[in-house]
């Protein structure tokens, strides 16, 4: 709302009082709004998360977008087009939320293009067949929903409001993806095999990467790194940005998705998955740092293609932006009734 950016300190208030007020708002479960004073660390953590989230939405358009021209029917094509368009919209909701923290969208896009800010590495995996479009929507959008539902209550108002819009649309994404796989599983043996193949490819990116690194695991070779992850999560939860640990949300996702896979007659590619009566949850193979890192796909051919595609799209649109600015500078009639 306010393009002046960060609120200037009022002379009457010293930082301690502002900080106490900020903490009191959080303690009362109130939202922080753009013009409120906030600690620099809170602003930075939010900005990083919202920016990464926004970048993931628009980079995430690519794997499914590649199948738009090859959708098997006009109906599936229209549905997929609507889904991919939603993802562009999610990016815009989130860039607008980030702008309330005093950065411009242009700066955020520059940071994405130069590699200074990241997007979810999930999308550094290729969508090899039509069934991948279904598996992506069912598994990665499904995982995104598990992350995003608690974010509707996150402490920063503009982020929470963006997430509420996103969540309303995500249910459609997951359902249409599941529907695509369901149709393939009712089809020929080859079609069902194609669905199984795609699920094999997208399971690990979804379960490992969509929830972030392990943050509750104790011990292990990478105990130090895991402890750092846990510290970031604790800080984020203290500020009310996150409401659950990565591992807690991961478990929630596995519990949801196992029965859904059974209904399709597909196998999730993890031999460790079995119902644990005692815990009341499904057990699954441990996502330790090695599994996490192995699934990143960092520096892979696909990762380079994703970014190159994004940069090319941006540069190809430069002449439009320049033409609009030139028109506006020449007295373009934004002031209808001047």
């Amino acid at each position: 709302m306010d393009d002046e950016g960060v609120v200037r300190l009022d002379a009457e208030y010293d930082e301690a009082r502002l900080s106490a007020h900020f903490e009191a708002l959080l303690a009362a479960g109130e939202r922080i709004e753009p013009r409120d004073w906030m600690p620099e660390g809170y602003r930075r953590m939010l900005l990083r998360q919202i920016a990464q989230h926004a970048h993931s939405e628009i980079i995430g358009m690519q794997p499914e977008g590649a199948w738009l021209t090859r959708a098997p029917t006009l109906h599936r094509k229209a549905v997929l087009l609507a889904k991919v368009q939603d993802e562009a919209g999610h990016g815009l909701y989130l860039y607008a939320a980030a702008e309330t923290l005093g950065v411009s969208r242009a700066e955020l896009l520059d940071a994405l293009h130069s590699g200074h800010q990241r997007y979810a590495a999930t999308f550094n995996h290729p969508a090899l067949t039509w069934a991948d479009a279904g598996a992506i929507a069912w598994l990665t959008d499904g995982a995104a929903v598990v992350n995003q539902v608690p974010l509707c209550q996150t402490s920063y108002g503009p982020y929470a409001r963006a997430m509420r819009r996103v969540c309303q649309e995500e249910a459609f994404h997951v359902r249409q993806g599941y529907d695509m796989l369901h149709a393939l599983c009712q089809g020929t043996p080859q079609q069902k095999e194609m669905a199984q193949d795609a699920v094999n490819r997208w399971w690990l990116p979804a379960v490992a990467l969509m929830f972030g690194p392990p943050d509750t695991v104790a011990g292990g070779a990478d105990a130090r790194t895991a402890a750092m992850g846990a510290a970031v999560t604790r800080r984020s939860m203290a500020w009310g940005i996150k409401r659950h640990t990565n591992d807690e949300l991961r478990q929630r996702f596995v519990d949801q998705v196992v029965p859904q896979a059974e209904r399709l007659g597909l196998t999730l590619p993890d031999p460790g998955i079995r119902w644990n009566e005692e815990r009341g949850h499904y057990d699954f193979g441990p996502i330790d740092w090695r599994v996490f890192r192995d699934s990143l796909g960092d520096g892979s051919l696909v990762a380079r293609q994703r970014l190159a595609h994004r940069v090319a799209a941006h540069e190809d649109g430069a002449w439009v932006r320049e033409a609009v600015d030139a028109h506006a500078a020449g007295g373009g009639d934004w002031r209808e009734a001047a």
């Binding site: 709302m1 607008a96 609009v324 600015d325 506006a328 500078a329 373009g332 934004w334």
Partner: protein, 97 residues
């Protein structure tokens, strides 16, 4: 003031007849037409909204948090502005009318 393609606008939507326009978010646009088109694509993909307003963000005059007390403290020290402050109209409370 010259607007550019990245000039921010605030978007207000009347979700259906009988309701007032509500703030839903913001878009960029070099003029009102572009802002309206962007707002339509972004905030009206579902539902059946009746109308959209776009307002240049710079035209919004905001109260600052430091003004909070003098601006919004009316209610706190004036409980008599609420009906509950007074004796009920019935023996059993306000349930029956």
């Amino acid at each position: 003031m010259t607007r550019r393609i990245r000039t921010p606008w605030e978007v207000f939507i009347r979700p259906r007849r009988g309701l007032s326009h509500q703030h839903v978010g913001s878009v960029h646009g070099a003029d009102a037409e572009m802002a309206l088109a962007n707002a339509r694509d972004l905030y009206a993909r579902r539902g059946d909204p009746v109308s959209i307003w776009v307002v240049p963000s710079e035209a919004v005059r905001a109260s600052s948090p430091a003004e909070k007390d003098p601006l919004f403290a009316n209610a706190a020290d004036k409980p008599y502005r609420y009906p509950e402050f007074f004796v009920t109209l019935h023996e059993d409370g306000d349930e029956q009318h």
